[in-house]
């Protein structure tokens, strides 16, 4: 009975502050509409500057087969390496291809020629992929040299392995399929952790918590009264994302059971609110709570496997990622929404989330003191 009034009080407080309410609802949804479009990692549009000292027909043909591949955009064509390097310096070109003098003549004389490629490697991944693409195009071109009227002798047939790449669950490599569930999870997590921790610390800062502390309300009741409203708001925002925005805007329809997602979500929200609660018990001012929440959120976000794979990290990094509830819930949403996995498939992640919910909440309740 007491709990009902407490929850009513919280809801009244939340609904009366129209600015905050609007932000809680709008900020996540607008971000969900915009951000997934930004997360396309496929490396294309590599800008290339060509330094051609030969200017022969074979050189021109090689360049056109590079640009025709669709990965490269010819940014600059000239015969001055310094000029090309200046463009690379300014990030206007990602790599420089230098074709030596007497390129065609050497080929016609049945000799091997060496091309020089300089790659801007500040972004290591992009550099190695770009370099690989270029090498593949050039080695394909090697095979077709005879088409250029160059005699290829020495006809040992080459053994060749063909690749048949298959992309399961997302044959057209649609990035939204991956990002939308992930970003939705991050947004709901932020609502839960921030709002919950700030709400309690605000009462501490204003002193109103003293008033609650002197009432006969038990501390578990008080905490429940704080958690339930934010739990409901989190579920609500997630539902709009999953049931309205994902299907209507991104054409994502869960392949697995929606009930299963909600089951995990319900427990996940408890775990997240537990973290918020824990933060609030360790801070006295909203400023402290915010800094702590910010730190946790950055950690959760960047270590969740949403942007970079957690498997690539060293063992201690993987251990941190393993303690990150966001990692597990993103995995669950991806498994269930995209692959239609069932309860048995997600059992490991599910048990970890349950365990975290229990640990964080117990810790927070033990640490919460009614006297200051």
């Amino acid at each position: 009975m007491m709990l009902k009034y407490l929850i009513e009080k919280e809801f009244k407080q939340i609904f009366r502050n129209k600015t905050i309410l609007k932000m809680i609802l709008l900020l996540p949804l607008v971000q969900l509409l915009v951000l997934p479009l930004a997360a396309d990692y496929e490396i294309k549009n590599i800008n290339i500057a060509v330094v051609d000292h030969d200017r022969s027909s074979v050189a021109r043909d090689l360049i056109s087969s590079i640009t025709a591949s669709g990965y490269f955009r010819l940014r600059q064509y000239g015969d001055d390496y310094r000029e090309a390097f200046h463009i690379l310096e300014q990030d206007k070109a990602d790599l420089i291809l230098e074709i030596p003098k007497d390129f065609e003549r050497a080929l016609r004389r049945q000799q091997a020629v060496r091309l020089f490629v300089a790659v801007n490697a500040v972004n290591g991944a992009k550099a190695s992929v770009g370099g690989n693409y270029l090498q593949r195009i050039i080695s394909d071109y090697n095979r077709n040299l005879s088409l250029q009227g160059i005699n290829v002798t020495g006809g040992v047939p080459q053994k060749e392995i063909h690749f048949e790449p298959l992309n399961w669950y997302n044959p057209f490599l649609n990035y939204n399929f991956f990002m939308v569930p992930g970003i939705l999870v991050v947004l709901v997590t932020m609502i839960g952790a921030y709002m919950c921790s700030l709400n309690i610390v605000k009462e501490k800062e204003l002193g109103t918590i003293e008033q609650v502390n002197v009432t006969p309300i038990r501390k578990s009741r008080f905490i429940l009264g704080k958690l339930i409203p934010f739990w409901i708001i989190g579920m609500f925002v997630f539902s709009i994302g999953l049931l309205v925005i994902a299907p209507l805007v991104y054409h994502i329809f869960p392949a697995g059971s929606i009930v299963l997602i909600y089951l995990v979500l319900a427990i996940y929200m408890v775990a997240i609110l537990g973290i918020g609660l824990l933060i609030s018990t360790y801070s006295n001012t909203q400023q402290q709570a915010m800094s702590l929440a910010f730190f946790c959120m950055m950690l959760f976000l960047l270590m969740s496997g949403l942007f970079t794979s957690t498997e690539s990290m060293p063992a201690w990094g993987r251990a941190i990622a393993y303690c990150n509830p966001v990692t597990h819930f993103i995995e669950v949403t991806r498994l269930v929404i995209l692959k239609g996995s069932g309860f048995r498939d997600i059992l490991p992640q599910f048990s970890i989330i349950v365990l975290m919910a229990i640990i964080f909440n117990t810790w927070a309740i033990l640490n919460y003191k009614k006297t200051s």
Binding site: I20, A112, V113, A118, A121, E205, M298, R334
Partner: protein, 368 residues
């Protein structure tokens, strides 16, 4: 002038007396830069790969050995079956499956051609395409080994990686994390510091003091400016010593640009504090509203040129995008002001506009 210095001292006291917050302010950015500098990488390592070896011959053995030797893959072998692949994907326990067909060696020897299936879990498209290309490259290397080198006309390539010969992820991520952390911390802290006075009612007292209201705001910003510069110095020191970031360009220039960036962020925080009334609202805007967009639009996570045009335009509004370019240019490439003047000008322009709007919206009387 004396009044101003008194106010600034008051603000410094505020910041230094709250030990817990101070510790967080210093510790957090350092911890984050260190942690993410060590951990974040675009390269995919130890990805679980299931190999379905129907061939079980010499060729398949050598391909598997090659895959095992690669640090990109963590090879899992099982009795080959289609159901096993599906099961593993549904559990999310593998990211890639490679199917080596029967008679692989025989086909290569006698037909000079064989097919290999590479099945990727494309629910994570980035990882799927990266892993497929790693696998293709590894197997192609085997193909090159079994082929005789051809004499005759041939084009070779010599690839040189400029600026980052070892392709370290640190070069990309440390500047990114620095600009991300600097932006969020500065914006968050200034906006909160001012709104806090509003919320607790002490702003009213400051506003009736004889000091010009703008000077009050300036005195609020000074401690955070100093703090941010000190913070930045620690971050730079750590990234150059522990994380192996190079410092090719002028340190002075980097400090100048960083101060500019900090100013931009402080004015953004100021603006937020003007339009909000409670710490909660200020925090919602500066954290929930800005964390994801700055992460995505700074350009260190996802290439900006892949984004749709409207988003590229939005990205131009994110200060950390420009600062990220400057940090890379100065620290890694060693460029001077002649090459980064455009970005500098943009940051300066942003600061001016933000400050002008803040002055316009600043209320010397609190709404009743």
């Amino acid at each position: 002038m004396k009044q101003l210095s008194v106010f600034i001292r008051k603000e410094f006291f505020h910041v230094f007396r709250d030990r817990k917050t101070l510790l967080l302010l210093f510790g957090m950015p350092l911890a984050q830069v260190l942690l993410f500098g060590f951990l974040l990488t675009n390269e995919i390592r130890n990805a679980k790969v299931l190999i379905c070896d129907y061939a079980k011959d010499d060729a398949s053995q050598r391909i598997i050995e090659k895959l095992k030797a690669s640090r990109n893959f963590d090879v899992v072998q099982q009795k080959p079956s289609n159901a096993a692949i599906q099961e593993a994907f549904r559990k999310g326990s593998i990211s890639l499956a490679i199917v080596l067909p029967q008679h692989l060696a025989y086909d290569l020897e006698h037909n000079h051609s064989a097919g290999v299936q590479i099945i990727a879990d494309a629910s994570d498209p980035n990882k799927a395409s990266t892993l497929s290309s790693y696998a293709t490259n590894t197997i192609s290397a085997y193909q090159a080994e079994i082929n005789m080198p051809v004499n005759g006309p041939r084009i070779d390539t010599e690839i040189r990686m400029i600026y980052n010969p070892e392709l370290k992820g640190v070069y990309n991520y440390v500047p990114g994390v620095i600009s991300l952390v600097l932006l969020l911390i500065c914006v968050l802290m200034t906006s909160i510091a001012i709104v806090k006075e509003k919320e607790s009612g002490t702003m009213e007292i400051l506003l009736v003091s004889p000091l010009n209201p703008f000077l009050i705001i300036i005195s609020k910003a000074v401690p955070y400016f100093v703090l941010s510069v000190v913070n930045l110095s620690c971050i730079l020191l750590l990234s150059c010593t522990l994380l192996g970031m190079p410092m090719q360009g002028s340190l002075l220039l980097l400090y100048f640009e960083s101060s500019l960036m900090i100013l931009t962020c402080l004015s953004l925080g100021l603006l937020i504090s003007n339009v909000t009334a409670s710490q909660q609202a200020a925090m919602l805007i500066s954290l929930m509203g800005m964390l994801l967009p700055t992460t995505l639009f700074s350009g260190f996570m996802f290439p900006l040129e892949n984004m749709p045009m409207p988003l590229q335009l939005i990205a131009n509004l994110v200060p950390s995008k420009w600062y990220y370019i400057i940090v890379k240019d100065v620290m890694i490439k060693g460029l001077g002001i002649r090459d980064v003047w455009k970005e500098t000008l943009i940051l300066a322009g942003m600061t001016t506009v933000l400050l002008l709007i803040s002055v316009q919206t600043f209320k010397t009387r609190l709404a009743s």
